[in-house]
Amino acid sequence: MTKTPRAGGPPSGPANDEVAVRLIGASLRRGGREILRDLDLVVPRGRITAVMGPSGTGKTSLLSLVSGELAPSKGQVFVEGQDINTLDRRRLYALRRRMGMLFQEGALFTDLSVFDNVAFPLREHTRLPEALVRVIVLLKLEAVGLRGAADLYPSELSGGMARRAALARAVVMDPAVVLYDEPLTGLDPISMGVILRLIRDLNHTLGLTSVVVSHDVQEMLSVADHFYVLADGRLIAQGDRESLRAQAAASPWVRQFLEGEADGPVPFHYPARPLWDDLLGGEAA
């Protein structure tokens, strides 16, 4: 496992302008429970980085750290070279304008049409004339294949379409970094393929940096360039596709996760006393 040097703050490791997001020794504690422990993580610019791990290992919390919604209890989070937790609200908002995020269920505004949803960030943050807003929105909708659905409302969309509309909204401001929170969860195989293609195509055509949090291993292996595997709030593997496979051979945990085995280092059974005690011992045991 290669480790990013920690001392000396952000300039260490890969050159700063090649790094979009960097976590240095970041820990997160919520409600007395440590969700993330001492994470060192680098997201190279212009690439697709996948953060994988079973449910409940703090993947979504990691995205909240990067978006500045949560502050690490220890360590630092740098986005575009800025320590996101030292920023005041105005600067944080200025930085967030250069970020896009795709939420698990899309999080479209239910009282706005697809068109108005995608136009929302533009209307909030720019003074572009409405004619230009229309052109930009239609182009983004065209990119996700929903130009024909511009006038529909979120309640009229299927899960996959809602996710695509939300993706158009996430990239409408041409952000530098796009964060994807479980973009494939609950989608049928066709929609999954569409979203995967969009993640890849948008990343390359718009020159984005993408961070995808997901537990869909095979899909991520097909689309991402760089991988981190989280378990119990710790990094247990990282690297590109080949090095991940090599680590799987060495670590039973990584292998269990990548192959989707039911039992292994992560036990099938929730901790309990022996079955016989439970069946024969009754309440008194």
Binding site: S67, A94, R96, M99, E105, T110, F120, L179
Partner: protein, 258 residues
Amino acid sequence: MKSTLSEIGSSPFQAVATLGAVGLFLVRILGAIPRALARPRALVEQIFVVGAVSTNLILVGGLFVGLVMGLQFYTALARFGATSALGGLVALSLLRELSPVVTALLYAGRAGTSLASELGLMRATEQFKAMEVMAVDPVERVVAPRFLAGVISVPLLTALFSAVGILGGYLIGVRLMGLDPGVFWNNLRASVRFRQDFLNGEFKALVFGILCTLVALYEGYHSDPTAEGLGRATTRSVVIASLAVLSCDYLMTAFLYR
């Protein structure tokens, strides 16, 4: 035993903490109001959604309250041969007490619940988070216009309630019981004072508007992002707002009409 005691001991602290949180929320809303005013369209839209749609309810409610009061007061006054005081009595009870209170209760039931559930649903579907990540402050964009709309609407609805209620009293007293219309209106005009009666009632309505809208928005905005959380927020918004209206009404009556 110990945990029960500590629970009992902690509940006043909880209540104070919640009150403080509501206060901070109000400060946040007030801070966002100038920027919310810069979007008059959104504000007008919300006045329509929050206020105008409650109009029918207020009209029907006000009419029936007026009809009932006309009947009750007329029979009571007839015992003393004082039916000529009907107009003033109906108008004063409406303007000072019934209109602000009943309007606020109806408003909390109609608009308050819909505000709480709307915001609760937005919370559950991560729409507030999405706004935050898009660098848009949800308090400024969503909460503040709704708050303003509520605060503007309740006094207007209250005035409407009074007007229709007086009409109800008139229908019973004059049309049904045969009181002279001149006597009815004259007595009303002679007994109602603009500042002490009408404006004080409108002041109450303003306070109730702030209370009901704030409670509904607070409950919705801070609801648990689950189905139960949404239901709980909606219920709490009505219960808390109603209790707040009734208790504040006592305090304000004690201070306003000495």
